[in-house]
């Protein structure tokens, strides 16, 4: 449905996207994962026809977005990072305008029905007569989504649809997006790892304009668990690092914070080994209090550090294929 082939985008001397290729099949939700400035927005802007590629080719529903922009745009709905709303228009006026410019011929009655339906679908119908400029962030995002859906496109491109929302709104938006899969092919960008795990069927990880890995979220999280780090809080002020290092399966112990009453440690375990029980036992056996024990989630930035800085050559040579996941593992092993 969406095919990106050797896409590059340069702004003057700066390369934002460098030879990126991937495919999205019909009905799939593809997560587009990367830190800020990785080239996500640039890639999405090329896919939606907002700007032309410097190099490479993108087809949407069989239409080249550069040579047949109108046909491709008729089949693409796009929610940019900031929803493109006119502050003076009411939600209804705004969506009516979007319907006018996106759907060729519609009778007034049909257009009104369509606007009504899309407002219900995105749960903004209660704000139909409110000015867009006076909406809360969550509503703005959903009106932006309504705008992207108004012409019933086959392809949806959503640029960080949950950014800046509160937790309840995030869950709602994710559910909404999941509900759209099947009838739509979706590309969704984010820098939040669990979001991808919850919504997407496949993930493309991009960093500094290059694809670093393509895989299913399950495989990815599995691989990343290999590099899990535990956080332990031990009562008292004695040095527990030596005792903790002695626990089988523990590779490295680092003191992370020191307080009057307790100490915090970060424990790195061997890949795919659960050391929680043994760590707890070691603390209790020594007669210290076990105040806290929890796995620390690797932030995406840390994964990227692992993927990109430790061994540049491996990362750069990583092909856009299942092999890429082994890179994650190797990097994790390198610690």
């Amino acid at each position: 449905m969406i095919e990106v082939q050797h896409l590059s985008k340069r702004y003057g001397p700066f390369t934002a996207v460098n030879d990126v290729s991937f495919r999205v099949e019909k009905g799939e939700i593809l997560g587009f994962l990367g830190p800020n400035g990785a080239g996500k927005t640039s890639t999405m802007r090329v896919i939606t026809g907002y700007m032309p590629p410097t190099d490479g080719k993108v087809t949407v529903a069989g239409f080249d977005v550069f040579t047949h922009p109108i046909e491709a745009k008729k089949r693409t709905g796009y929610l940019p990072e900031t929803p493109p709303l006119y502050p003076d228009m009411t939600v209804r006026e705004y969506l009516t305008f979007a319907a006018r410019i996106k759907v060729g011929s519609l009778s007034t009655a049909d257009r009104n029905t369509r606007v009504m339906n899309v407002m219900k679908k995105t749960f903004v119908d209660d704000m139909a007569n409110r000015q867009c400029g006076k909406l809360s962030k969550g509503y703005r995002q959903r009106v932006g989504l309504a705008q992207a859906l108004i012409h019933e496109p086959e392809v949806l491109v959503l640029d960080e649809p949950t950014a800046g929302l509160d937790p309840k709104q995030i869950t709602e938006t994710r559910e909404l997006v999941r509900g759209l899969a099947g009838s739509h092919t979706i590309i969704l960008s984010t820098h939040i790892l669990p979001e991808v795990a919850q919504t997407c069927s496949r993930v493309v990880i991009i960093n500094k304009g290059k694809v670093v890995a393509v895989d299913t979220p399950d495989n990815l999280t599995h691989q990343l668990k290999g590099a899990a780090i535990l956080y332990v809080q031990v009562g008292g002020t004695q040095d527990a690092a030596a005792a903790l290092s002695g626990v089988p399966g523990v590779r490295q112990v680092r003191e992370s914070d020191r307080h009057e009453e307790f100490l915090g440690y970060e424990i790195e375990a061997e890949p795919n080994r659960d050391v929680r029980k043994d760590v707890a036992k070691a603390v209790v056996n020594n007669g210290w209090g076990l105040l806290e024990l929890r796995p620390m989630r690797l932030s995406l930035e840390e994964i990227f550090l692992q993927l990109t800085t430790e061994d540049k050559q491996t990362a750069a040579a990583a092909p856009v294929s299942p092999d890429a996941t082994t890179v994650v593992e190797q990097e994790a092993n390198n610690g």
Partner: protein, 259 residues
């Protein structure tokens, strides 16, 4: 074709609504009405004096409403729009760039030309609304006087063409920046330049002088104000507008390449 017209109409309608949902349109119309009204009263006053004088046989009875009222009034209107139109055109594109709504337009199935023509039509409709206010004053002349229809019509045609030239230029300038104030100021400077370029024409040599005078957008208005519709001026204005719109469309495209 039908689809293009529909798209242009949708954008023009949106533009016009944007003018009237903010105070800008009303302020501009009020300002224009007040200034035009001031000139109207000044000319009316001197016209009445002159014709009174004519009645007592002190002055030659050559005063007529066409030459003493309509012509100078339309001439003044042509200067007034120089100040008013930058305020109409400055927001057209710059605002969309600033607020990011341009992403909606550029990712919708619209051609660049349709966006520009829609915005041009919207700004022209706004301009016609401003110009429409002056019809009130003109109707006073028609009720109590007997002015020449031809002169009024050709004068307004000239004002519309002159305004269209300014609007097309202002729209082009607005595509160049995301800052409305920059767009407004630059438009005003350019409009002013297009007006006074003929003054330099006076002092330059005969060849360059005639070129400069030809380029001056207000120079071509004079004949319309006299009640003469000359094809050479029509051609000038229409090509001027077309060139401005062409530049604006190209600017949208080149902006896209720069990202």
């Amino acid at each position: 074709m039908a689809e293009s017209l529909r798209n242009i109409r949708a954008i023009a309608g949106k533009e016009l609504r944007a003018y009237y949902s903010s105070p800008v349109a009303w302020v501009l119309m009020g300002l224009f009405a007040a200034l035009f009204g001031y000139f109207f009263i000044v000319y009316l006053d001197s016209f009445v004096r002159e014709s009174m004088g004519g009645q007592f046989g002190q002055a030659p009875p050559t005063v007529n409403v066409n030459m003493s009222m309509i012509r100078p009034l339309l001439g003044n209107a042509s200067i007034l729009i120089l100040f008013v139109l930058p305020m109409v055109t400055m927001r057209t594109y710059a605002e969309e760039k600033k607020s990011g709504t341009i992403e909606l337009l550029l990712t919708s199935p619209l051609k660049d030309g349709e966006i520009i023509l829609g915005k041009f039509a919207g700004a022209m409709a706004m301009y016609l609304g401003i110009l429409g206010v002056t019809l009130l004053y003109m109707s006073v002349l028609f009720i109590w006087g007997n002015p020449s229809w031809q002169m009024v019509l050709s004068g307004y045609l000239g004002l519309i063409l002159l305004g269209a030239g300014f609007v097309a230029t202002g729209l082009f300038i607005s595509t160049l920046t995301s800052n409305q104030m920059v767009a407004g100021t630059a438009s005003f400077v350019i409009f002013l330049l297009l007006w006074i370029i003929s003054w330099f024409g006076e002092s330059a040599g005969p060849t360059i002088g005639s070129i400069l005078r030809y380029l001056s957008i207000t120079e071509h208005f004079d004949d319309f104000g006299k009640g003469v519709i000359d094809t050479k001026h029509l051609v000038f204005y229409i090509s001027f507008v077309a060139f401005g719109l062409f530049l604006a469309t190209k600017s949208v495209d080149s902006d896209r390449w720069r990202g």
